[in-house]
């Protein structure tokens, strides 16, 4: 990976889907984010985005994504306006999203949006001259989560390629795993999809991996594949996806990550989770070297600092 890629200009670019970024661009963002770590930790400070204003439009609840975006903007010396609950806005009066975006565009230099409808971020980008960053649209895309997941693998394993990555849990409805499977395939990582039969990875996602030259292994048996994994990416299985409580309890029980299960794993296996978790990772793992999920959550700050800085023309 080379850091200095000539002609890489992100100023004014919308970040809507990971598929809008080439592998070269992703590499550039990951390397740029690495340089942001001391600034994200508050060890260094430079106001790259002094005088810039970010509109933070959260039409849906969020903890990590919203706070890390706001932290990122503040750490860069910029200001944040916006809302985390659309209840107090004109949307309640029936205003279209397009009009809300036109207004935010005129008040700020960049817009971050989370919205319950799929495609909302793409629509926002259409009505805004300022760059739009998608912080999750419905069950659709969440590119900054995907980038921070890649960043976590990249910083821990020094590379993304040549890793055997297990994606575990609700692969059918899970928002993060679809983009991640695509992005990991771009890098040629080995993929193993572990899920109950009813929550298997959608065919179109598997096809995308195949088109990129990856043949994912699909199984419902985690124990069988854990030995050879370098990364275990766990997602939450939601109760409402199952017709009865008994079936849900059986499935959730068989995918719980605990010390016993990890005994057979590689010494340097890392366990990731987009959070929030419920019971899928036993807290006994939290203190081990394998537990990367809290660091992963922190990584949201340098990645979002890198993106905000790049799209608003901040110079490191």
């Amino acid at each position: 990976m080379s850091f200095f890629l000539i002609g890489m200009n992100f100023e004014g670019k919308d970040i809507i889907s990971i598929k809008d970024c080439s592998k070269k661009e992703i590499n550039f963002i990951l390397n740029y984010a690495k340089k942001m770590i001391p600034y994200a930790k508050g060890e260094k400070f430079k106001d790259f985005l002094k005088g810039k204003v970010l509109s933070s439009l959260f039409f849906e609840p969020s903890t990590r994504t919203r706070l890390s975006f706001e932290s990122a903007m503040n750490r860069l010396g910029g200001r944040v306006i916006g809302f985390s609950d659309p209840g107090g806005t004109s949307l309640k009066k029936g205003e279209s999203l397009a009009d809300t975006i036109r207004m935010a565009d005129s008040y700020s230099d960049s817009i971050v949006i989370r919205h319950p409808q799929e495609g909302a971020a793409r629509l926002a980008a259409e009505f805004s001259d300022a760059p739009v960053l998608n912080a999750g649209d419905g069950a659709g895309r969440h590119p900054t989560q995907c980038l921070l997941d890649l960043f976590t693998i990249f910083t821990e394993k020094k590379q993304i390629e040549n890793n055997n990555v297990i994606l575990l849990g609700d692969l059918k409805y899970g928002r993060t795993v679809h983009s991640l499977a695509y992005a990991l395939s771009l890098y040629g990582a080995e993929l193993t999809f572990v899920s109950p039969n009813s929550l298997k990875m959608p065919k179109e996602v598997v096809n995308e991996c195949v088109e990129l030259g990856i043949k994912p292994v699909q199984t419902s048996n985690l124990e069988k594949v854990i030995k050879s994994a370098d990364v275990l990416y766990v997602t939450r299985i939601q109760r409402e996806r199952f017709p009865d409580a008994e079936e849900y309890n059986r499935v959730v029980g068989s995918y719980q990550i605990n010390k016993d299960l990890l005994e057979n794993s590689k010494k340097d296996l890392i366990v990731m989770h987009p959070l929030p978790r419920v019971t899928e990772i036993n807290p006994e793992i939290d203190g081990t070297d394998k537990a990367l999920y809290f660091k992963q959550a922190f990584n949201g700050v340098p990645i979002r600092m890198a993106l905000l800085s790049l799209v608003m023309g901040g110079k490191l």
Binding site: L97, P116, Q117, E118, G119, A120, L123, D137, G138, G140
Partner: protein, 151 residues
């Protein structure tokens, strides 16, 4: 003398080689009939050398090739014949554009393009022409049965 099922036209457009049963959908894509529509003849399930087909003849109107190309969505092998004074003056095969706007509705009920209060049209990117695959510009979903989704 062989009897013609639909008459020859003097001037206008003939759309040939439409898959059987799809002529009505072709008309829908072309927004026919409109208020100022000229005479339109439709023949369905016409026998030909390569099986059955539908044919549409529109009199006194030469369709714009860009508009007509959209019918490749449901009739990828259709041919367009521009008729002038009973002769075929121009002939070409339909060619699907790279983007389809305002013709196909997204199959995702939660897609923002299906919300009535937003000032946007349904919009699809053509990702593969044979076999045809299109993807919603907004939510990236691919409709399974495109012809069922034509507005």
């Amino acid at each position: 003398m062989k009897e013609l099922k639909i008459p020859l036209i003097k001037n206008g457009t003939v759309i040939d080689h439409i898959p059987p049963g799809n002529a009505v959908k072709v008309l829908r894509i072309l927004r026919i009939p409109s208020k100022d529509s000229s005479t339109v003849s439709v023949a369905m399930n016409v026998k030909s050398k390569i099986g059955k087909k539908d044919i549409v003849k529109i009199e006194n109107r030469e369709l714009d090739p860009n508009e007509v190309d959209k019918i490749a969505l449901i009739a990828p092998k259709a041919t367009i014949n521009i008729i002038r004074d009973y002769e075929v003056a121009e002939k070409h095969r339909v060619k699907l554009p790279d983007e389809i706007v305002g013709i196909v509705k997204c199959s995702n009920p939660n897609c923002v393009s299906n919300k009535t209060n937003e000032p946007v049209k349904n919009r699809f990117k053509v990702i593969k022409k044979d076999p045809l695959r299109i993807k919603c510009y907004y939510c990236e979903r691919e409709p399974e049965d495109i012809s069922e989704r034509i507005i």
